[in-house]
Amino acid sequence: MSNLDTQKLINNLRKSLDDQKTEASLIEAKNIFIKKHLSPLYDDLKLAPASSKKELGIFINQFKNEINDTFETIRSRLIDALEQEQHKVDYNIHIDSTDLTKGQLTPISLIVNEVTEFFKKINFDIVCGDEVVKIKHNFDSLNIDPTHPGRDKKDSYYFNDESMLRSHCTATTALIMENNQSHDIRVLSYGSVYRNDDDDLTHSHQFNQIDFVWVKEGLSIRNLKWLIENLLKHIFGDQAKTRFRLSHFPFTEPSFEVDVTCVNCGGKGCPMCKQTGWIEVLGAGMLHENVMKAANIDIKTGIAAGFGVDRFAMLKYGISDIRLLYTNDFRFMNQFKKGAK
């Protein structure tokens, strides 16, 4: 029996199996082969003398295993090929087809979401408030005296002697602070604000702001710095450097204007940053004691800051004309869809 050339037989089996197109015919071809070449060996085994039985048994087992291995390899390959055949589709990937992108928020909402995400982490109330506000909350409560230029009728929109369109979101914050008995007031307000201004590339009579205060006894200017730096890193990335410049706002003392490294040139200096390497993004400060008094709050310290959402959007997305945020041109808006082409 050892004269049997199993290698040759297995090659024949491989050829025979390779020709099969279905799994059934593959099994049939295997069975025919077994009947023809393996089954007679079992007959021989019965008749073989006891001395060579063991050797023959081992030989038969090896042959059987080889047959099975060959069969399984080819069967697995055939099944793959058949599945592939079944799923063959005549697509041309270059044809512009599916457009399953969903709707999209405006750049303004995208920025608001990004900022509120930061403030939710540190447990802030998020409110949008009304755009029609009392003059008292827009100015008087914020230490803006009646002769301040910002109160001029040419600068703000008034409805009557009591009400106006808010010129900053701090009006909403002031309303929330009023008579607030909490020992820890954390509130962010956002939404549209209005200035009696002509619309051009960088000015709009309606634009969006975010304003926040954290009123709590014992807050220091170093806490202010920590909060603002972390907010700006959240928005502009960890690499963004900040610069604080002392400034003046009626409702905070001291007040700061805060710059980040120019998003256009990375701080090298370009026309966008007037060659300074810095872009002003935010106003901040410690709430003025007169604001606390007006709100009837006993707490002495509070951090406040505010910034223009439209300006942030323009810087972050490279938008050169603020009016694009309000004309709703689909060619512009579709660029903000995730996966937009």
Binding site: K102, N113, N230, Y326
Partner: protein, 777 residues
């Protein structure tokens, strides 16, 4: 403001060692911002010459033939057209082959038979035009006194070696627009000994100006100066003024302008001989009057405007502009100089109303301490020692001492400084500390509270080098963000259903109020000070704006896509309104021709998703006789028994106004506040459910009467074993009869024999045939 390096150096000598970079940091630290640094290119190829003599050109009335010594062997003959050319004066000469900065090359040239060997230069030939160049220098050549003939580096004589800084100062520190206060702040930062003294060294006679009060004018002075001559200032004066952003006018005005650059207090100057009297008064006009300003423009003054008067004549609009009739001219011999501290609010309002923004108006539109007025008089008396000044002031402008809580200061600033260090810094700032009392100098009327003092310390501490400190705080349970979170949920729902968010203006014109006013809301919020009719009133609906978005995009041939806006609308109530519009079909996959149909049914599905987010449900009732929607394709949306919105197909006549008449546009508009008010978090209870596989049967039947289907369904529910039923298919036959397929689910709490099941099916068949239905085998 614009301030020059040389002017700062003239006050603070140490400033010579400070680089521009360090200066920018210093300014930022004390609250000022350097917006721009301006330097000048030094001209090359030009030389200083001396005009030896000037003769008339033989063939021209306007040209002169000058002999000019430029330091060579032979003087040059140069033809010049400048009106101010003068013998014995130094000038700047461009000789043969000199290339000017604008690329022009000077060549010897025959000018009307005279060979000109060069050109005498005006300022504009030497360097790019300075916006503050005087009229005289725009037309004339540069005439110098002290330059050396043959010198090729002459830039220092006309200020080209200076650096100018454009600086923004804090709005509450108008005094910083003057060099004195400015230098005080810079000196404080660098710890240089430079203090402005409260003491003013000038001689003042009591003016008996009884009009001085805090509502009109807090101090007023007049100084009479006799025997002056008016001419042009030297370049020594002019270059200083131009480097500080001031246009030279004449020798008198320029001297007063120099005083202003130091103190930020503008002076008014009159030809004393033209005034009806030298006893000036200040008052508010009781009736309108018209004046002719020194700029040649006519100004209509109103009752309440503050004016300076001589007898019954207005001589100037206080702090803004003088009257032309009394201005200083070349013939003036005696002048009256006036310094006043007028009500800055009135000054600003008047200048804005008259659109008259003179340099004086800008400076007087913010508060100026009286002390600076006196300092200006002191400077004036230095220039004109013989002038006699009359002066009156309101004497209540004293700055009260402030009480400081140093413990509060330590906590607030957290600078880890000792008490001594803090006091040292305050002393450095010119503040005198005695225990917890701080005396405020007269020139710091801006320091009114404790926090102002904290700020003074911060100015000297480089805030940018401080390390931020995390806020240690407790977690507080908050519940005031509900509106925001609901708004976000609704926006997410809309964008998940292919709607694009839009943002449009809330102010509209009165003509637009009725457009698509589906809720029939009266506009309540009308702008009182409206100066642009397109922004007259707050809109009361969002659909009009959304249709305008479609109109705009159609004009650019953009494919229309579903859009929505979520925004408060303002009427008697403030309501969060969600509005959306869509063309009926939205292409998803053009290749496979798949679309979403967003007709009333599709929009109802979207509205239901919104209701789900608000944990409520909406009901829909057909609309009839509606101005905006077609009757058979529109519904009122109800919630809690109230109409809160509409959805439907917009009538073509409404769409035509937007150029959308050929489109089929559906609209959804919901007022959400009722849902917001009643919002309740949902509590879900899981129920026991039957674990057996449900048993259902489909029965198809044909009927010619559609109403009978409802009857069949109703009767079927009476069979107690049926748990639920549903019409799952509807097919219109060729003969117009309709075949329905009804699926019936049986209660299978216990085992049901097939025979029993068949008996129930027979019962249902009977119901169908009773109602004229024909069972389909």
């Amino acid at each position: 403001m614009i301030i020059s390096r040389q002017i700062i150096e003239s006050v603070l000598e140490q400033f010579k060692n400070i680089s521009d970079e360090d200066f920018v940091i210093a300014c930022n630290s004390v609250g000022m911002e350097v917006e721009r640094i301006i330097t000048h290119e030094q001209p090359t190829g030009l030389v200083v010459g001396e005009i030896l003599n000037v003769q008339k050109h033989p063939l021209s009335d306007k040209l002169s033939v000058c002999t000019v010594n430029v330091g060579g062997r032979e003087p040059k003959i140069i033809v010049c057209g400048a009106p101010n050319v003068k013998a014995k004066k130094k000038c700047i000469v461009a000789l043969q082959e000199t290339k000017l900065f604008d690329g022009k090359v000077i060549m010897n040239q025959d000018i009307k038979t005279v060979l000109s060997q060069g050109m005498l230069c005006g300022f504009e030939e030497v360097t790019p035009t300075n916006p503050f160049l005087s009229k005289e220098d725009q037309n004339g050549i540069i005439l110098l006194d002290n330059a050396k003939v043959g010198d090729k580096t002459f830039g220092q004589h006309i200020g080209l070696d200076d650096t100018e800084y454009e600086i923004t100062v804090p709005s509450n520190r108008n005094d910083l627009n003057g060099i004195f206060s400015f230098c005080q702040e810079i000196a404080k930062y660098f710890d240089w000994k430079y203090f402005i003294s409260d003491e003013v060294k000038c001689s003042l006679k009591d003016g008996n100006f009884n009009f001085v009060d805090d509502k009109t004018c807090s101090c007023f002075s007049t100084t009479e100066i006799k025997n002056i001559s008016v001419g042009f200032s030297s370049w020594e004066v002019k270059k200083k003024l131009m480097a500080c952003g001031v246009t030279p006018v004449n020798s008198i005005v320029d001297q007063l302008s120099l005083v202003t650059t130091y103190t930020n207090v503008p002076a008014a100057v009159y030809d004393a001989d033209l005034l009806p009297t030298k006893e000036l008064t200040v008052k508010r006009l009781s009736e309108p009057k018209t004046i002719l300003g020194i700029d040649g423009k006519s100004y209509k003054l109103e009752a309440g405007d503050i004016v300076v008067m001589a007898n019954d004549e207005i001589v100037s609009l206080a702090g803004i502009i003088g009257v032309d009739k009394y201005k200083v001219t070349d013939n003036t011999k005696n002048i009256l100089v006036e310094f006043g501290n007028f009500n800055y609010h009135s000054t600003r309002m008047t200048s804005v109303r008259l659109d008259c923004f003179t340099d004086a108006a800008k400076r007087f539109s913010k508060k100026i301490p009286n002390w600076l007025i006196k300092k200006s008089i002191e400077l004036l008396q230095n220039i004109y020692p013989n002038g006699e000044t009359k002066y009156s002031e309101r004497n209540d402008e004293l700055v009260n001492p402030l009480t400081i809580d140093f413990d509060q200061m330590d906590m607030f600033l957290d600078l880890e400084m000792s008490r001594e260090q803090l006091i040292d810094i305050l002393n450095r700032s010119g503040l005198n500390v005695d225990g917890n009392q701080i005396t405020i100098p007269q020139y710091r009327t801006d320091l009114t509270c404790q926090q102002d003092i904290f700020e003074e310390i911060l100015k000297i501490t480089d805030f940018n080098k401080l390390i931020g400190k995390p806020i240690i705080s407790e977690i507080v349970l908050r519940d005031n963000s509900l509106e925001h979170s609901l708004l976000m949920k609704i926006k997410d729902t809309m964008i998940a259903n292919y709607f694009q968010e839009t943002k449009s203006y809330n102010l509209i014109s009165l003509d637009e109020v009725d457009a698509m006013n589906v809720f029939k809301v009266e506009p309540t919020w009308k702008i009182d000070n409206c100066n642009n009719q397109s922004r007259a009133v707050m809109r009361t609906n969002l659909i009009d704006s959304l249709l305008k978005v479609y109109e705009f995009n159609c004009s650019y041939k953009n494919d229309l896509q579903p859009i929505f806006e979520l925004q408060k609308i303002y009427s008697n109530q403030v309501i969060n309104n969600l509005s959306a519009i869509v063309e009926e079909k939205v292409d998803l996959d053009p290749l496979n021709k798949s679309k979403i149909i967003l007709n009333v049914s599709g929009l109802r599905a979207v509205a239901n998703l919104v209701a789900n987010e608000l944990n409520t449900s909406f009901e829909y009732f057909p609309l009839s006789s509606n101005d905006f929607f077609y009757d058979d394709e529109s519904f009122a949306i109800h919630c809690g028994g109230q109409v809160i919105g509409y959805l439907g197909l917009i009538k073509k006549r409404n769409l035509k106004e937007y150029g959308l008449g050929n489109k089929k546009i559906y609209c959804l508009s919901i007022n959400l506040d009722l849902c917001f008010d009643d919002y309740q978090p949902i509590s879900i209870q899981a129920k026991q459910f039957n674990n057996l596989i449900p048993i259902s049967r489909d029965i198809s039947f044909t009927t010619e009467n559609e109403n009978s289907v409802m009857d069949i369904e109703m009767d079927a529910t009476k069979i107690t074993i049926i748990s639920k039923h549903k019409i799952v298919d509807r097919f219109i036959n060729k003969n117009n009869s309709i075949t329905y397929t009804m699926r019936i689910w049986f209660k299978n709490n216990e085992k049901i024999e097939l025979a029993v099941l068949d008996s129930y099916l027979t019962q249902i068949s009977t119901i169908i045939t009773t109602h004229q239905g024909q069972i389909k085998k």
